[in-house]
Symmetry: C2
Subunit: 473 residues, 2 copies
Amino acid sequence: MTDEMDCLLNPRTIAIIGASSSSDKIGNVLVKSLLRSSAKIFPVNPKHDLIEGIRCYHLISDVPDDLDLAIIALPAEKSYAEFIKVADHGVKCAIFVTAGFSEMGNHGRELEKQIIDYARSKGTRVLGPNTLGVYSPITKIDTLIIPAEKSPRPDGGALALISQSGSVHVSMLEKASSMAIGISYSIGLGNRADISEIDMLKYLADDDRTRCIALYLESFSDGRALIELAKSITPKKPIVAIKAGRTEAGSRAASSHTGAISRSGDDIVDGAFHQSGIIRAYDDEELLDYANALMLMSESKGDRVAYIGSAGGVGVMASDYIESEGIGGRLRMAKLSDATKKALSEVLEAFAPLNNPVDLTASSSPSQYDGAMHIVAQDQGVDMILLSLDMQPPMMDDSVFDYIKSWAGLGKPIVGTSTGGDLAIRTVLKMQKLGIPSYPSLSRCIKSARILYERGKFLKQIGNKGSSKTHPI
Amino acid sequence: MTDEMDCLLNPRTIAIIGASSSSDKIGNVLVKSLLRSSAKIFPVNPKHDLIEGIRCYHLISDVPDDLDLAIIALPAEKSYAEFIKVADHGVKCAIFVTAGFSEMGNHGRELEKQIIDYARSKGTRVLGPNTLGVYSPITKIDTLIIPAEKSPRPDGGALALISQSGSVHVSMLEKASSMAIGISYSIGLGNRADISEIDMLKYLADDDRTRCIALYLESFSDGRALIELAKSITPKKPIVAIKAGRTEAGSRAASSHTGAISRSGDDIVDGAFHQSGIIRAYDDEELLDYANALMLMSESKGDRVAYIGSAGGVGVMASDYIESEGIGGRLRMAKLSDATKKALSEVLEAFAPLNNPVDLTASSSPSQYDGAMHIVAQDQGVDMILLSLDMQPPMMDDSVFDYIKSWAGLGKPIVGTSTGGDLAIRTVLKMQKLGIPSYPSLSRCIKSARILYERGKFLKQIGNKGSSKTHPI
């Protein structure tokens, strides 16, 4: 597939306008970052012959190759004149990583308009201005102005992020990194003067690496087009979105921040999202939590959850939270069949209760977890499994993680959690890296399980049988 | 103050029945842990003369001192015979840290009854059986059977924890440790054959070290007594509680777990908690989050929140979440006065919007945070401050933490958050250690702010003007 947006997300050649040799400059951070990519890099700066050991071009017109992408790392005032040279050189796409445009008032707005007018006249596509740009662990294209040493980047995976806000963009990348959520591409839209969420969604819809798309928006570039496009994407690929500015106060704040126009009836947004299969999140934590579940697991065919864990009290809280209407999962605790109970009785200790929650007690061992998972997964009355894995009990050891690898074939979606502090967080990360969407919080885990059920309901509604695999990794 | 429960929580002398010299035995973990306490320790085991370098007594009757506390670390079957000797020796209190009693069925129930009957005849109080016992960083009394190396203990502080579930007890301690929440005492009630939450609440009500009490219960030992007692405590000291088993499924799970009788109308629990000023939490994360806020901050006099941060998009999400009715804080974004806006204009960059959320932008510096905090705290229209501290911007450095120390005098409650991944978590921990209740999640931070407002409403309702200090640390 060749797509216009390949010049942005998979460029073969990149010029850095305003490349610098001093390490405290954005133009230097960018050269260093991009040298790690597979693209061919062309620093441009009239004052230098060599930057980071490679040739620096004095003028973009000196660059011998066709350019897919130019990154403009110059103050706003200087950028128009330089962009003209970029566009005249036939560069297919430009990213403006600096601020000082329409977000700053009338003068900046005029500057931005001049740039876009010229870009359109030459057929150059523009990301931004006022954007962190693009990061992809797959292509190693990284135009973020904060170096990776200061702001850790997530590993490669199947989640694509799109953000209208730079701070939310950075925050989501750092959160994804600390939660071991792998991403395919992340794109900052900035002032969205040209390239919008619509362009990006079109590209990502057909991108084989991307299994789920997460979106942070404060306004829509074209609400109707978004909904129509989403309708064609969500049957095959889930979209989770925040539409911030949903209250009066949030809307005022969004207006100061990205110039988003006032809240156009948040109920309408709700309805349109629902109708087009977009799952709505209300903060960055939910956005990543839900996207994580949808990226790693297929939908749940029903709302009956089996809980497997070793901590009795946590099982009680989980049962409450799973079934609660107001605050909670609005799901059901599965009723285990007699055959399941009999099979469990052969795996568990004599004193363990044979119910759901399945309580492995403090005598839990890795092989008991494995036995219980296999038995419960075969119960026709169970739609998904909540695995609460605690490593404290004396018989537990890391061999449980070897078993986890085999649970991909169990045929039911699994969500994971672990209770406690730092040990629990480490356990959650290990489960996550083995392909089970995992959360250091019971409520976040159950809310994400709910989303797998919502996804199943949506696919059933539109008559789509959904994916045949339940554990795509 | 001398209290019967001092023998449990502040013992001067402790016997360990079933002390052991092999490091894989509970009886050895206990000796080692308790040697760190300020109490005098008497290991008891007929087979040893010396354990961990101190004299081991063959019989409890050989111990020359009066004993405040005995810890029975023997299998259930052996413990009755040994307990008779303990009670006959006049020990004031005993903790049974082993399982195998009423939670195991009729035989264990009978055993437990015999123990309690004998204890009552001798005036010995009993914690448990089937409890992890007690942990206090203040007295260094630590009867938890999982060594601190495997299960990190929190530092000293002002939060008391009481749990009917052992696993929730350990989980809360580990969570408190990883969140830098300091605790005064934590008590596991176990089967609650004698000492109950009522005894503990009475003690903690008058304990000067404890500023907030968090409670995990699956059933009430005496619901009416609890509510009456709570009414006398909550005007001076907040109580946060989980009553698990609130749904049919949770109630069934609680019945298998602690034998809690079926859910006696969860609406009644809700009403009784509300009436007696107990704040209800629905999972362990909420329990600690709310208790953390109430321990470190005084109540908020109103619902008007000012947000100070440097990340525009996060400010928009925060505004939404603060004002949302269904999912959200059900609070209000404060309207800043003209005087506040004018003062802010002298501190912030020219391009920063002068509104709430106060957006320090990527140009934020420690002194701007300090200036904004002082200005906003003086606004009569602001009841509390949500501080979103991000260390990414280039001008930010650790000097901001020196400023934070001075914010205790600002006269308004503050809750803290930071957005992103590992750096955000480290920032949150630093704020927390400086006395600002802080959360690595916007929604958890705002929900906790809501609780400070709920506390203020409750105190107003009962005609209590509340604490004069807003930042007790």
